[in-house]
């Protein structure tokens, strides 16, 4: 995978997960609706958390809360 080691863990986790979801939906079109909705859900949840999470969580834990 192309995860550069210099990125923070949440960054790498999201990168790998979203890239993997896209690849799943390329290889198995029958799952593409579900894969893409998972991506929507992630974006929606992450953005929602920008409103209410504490600052520290926002740079550290937010990826894990929504993954």
């Amino acid at each position: 995978m192309g995860c550069s080691p210099e990125w923070a863990l949440p960054d790498q986790v999201v990168f790998s997960t979203v890239a993997a979801l896209l690849r799943i939906s390329i290889d198995h079109p029958e799952y593409s609706d579900r894969a893409i909705s998972a991506i929507y859900f992630f974006v929606e949840q992450t953005i929602e958390k920008t409103h209410d999470s504490t600052c520290k969580n926002f740079i550290t834990l937010s990826a894990f809360l929504c993954a």
Partner: protein, 262 residues
């Protein structure tokens, strides 16, 4: 923020045949991130952590290291930077809806999908998308409007920056604020660059040239641009390239002669 950065990296490096309705759905979510309140909050984030939340030295060191690492990679984790990520994500997805990638199985290279999609739009004319519902049209138009608004905001802010007393710089001591400030100019030329890309791709999708975008490109490529920035002018040229592909009449404009002359 690192999570959103990871999201942006995944989208811009993985080629995928996105559809217009998928673009629409993601744009609806992402545009919340571009609201002034959120940008502000993200710009202040590190300052807030240092001032309000962190009590122990370890956490403080952790946060500082994290921020420093991203800055070293040219990715300041500020609200401005997030806007750039959003713009880049939006145009990458829309560009691939207009020029579906042929091979989606390629090794993972940073921004590979974005670069490929743009290249494909400069070489081939865009797919004609069937936009039936007004809602999608409106979102495309809103996106263009947002991109245009950023441009006028920039002009205002540049004037403000010029008139700001130099003493003020001493007040910008904290890591967070100096970070935001030092990336202000970079952010703005970068976001202009992305905005023009995004706006021109929206025009392709709509199959109509936005008057404002058109006059902006004319202005930027004229002999007397409001500001001189290589990146912004490069974007204007790039935008022209893909628009010319689709609308031949565009190429009969006088300003293009000047560039072909070189």
């Amino acid at each position: 923020m690192p999570a959103l950065h990871g999201f942006y990296r995944a989208i811009s490096s993985t080629s995928y045949c996105w559809t217009l309705s998928q673009w629409k759905a993601l744009t609806m979510h992402l545009k919340i991130l571009c609201s002034p309140g959120i940008i502000d909050r993200l710009n202040r984030l590190f300052l807030d952590i240092v001032q309000q939340e962190v009590t122990d030295a370890d956490t403080l060191r952790y946060v500082q290291t994290l921020v420093a690492r991203y800055v070293a990679q040219g990715r300041p984790l500020t609200g401005y930077f997030m806007v750039c990520c959003v713009l880049e994500t939006e145009w990458t997805i829309l560009a691939q809806a207009l020029a579906p990638p042929l091979a989606t199985r390629s090794p993972v290279v940073e921004a590979a999908a974005a670069n490929k999609a743009w290249l494909s739009l400069t070489r081939n004319s865009a797919l004609e998308l069937d936009i039936e519902d007004d809602r999608t049209k409106n979102i495309l138009k809103d996106t263009i409007r947002y991109a245009m608004k950023c441009f006028s905001d920039l002009l205002v802010q540049i004037e403000e920056m010029d008139s700001e007393p130099s003493l003020d710089t001493y007040a910008w001591e904290t890591m967070s604020e100096s970070l935001v400030r030092s990336h202000f100019t970079v952010y703005h030329s970068h976001s202009q660059f992305l905005n023009q890309k995004l706006a021109s791709i929206c025009c392709l999708a709509l199959r109509e040239i936005d008057d404002q975008l058109y006059s902006r490109i004319l202005l930027l490529l004229s002999t007397d641009p409001p500001f001189s920035d290589n990146l912004v002018q490069e974007a204007a040229l790039k935008a022209t390239t893909i628009l010319v592909r689709t609308w031949v009449f565009f190429s009969s404009l006088p300003f293009l002669d000047r560039f072909f002359f070189f």
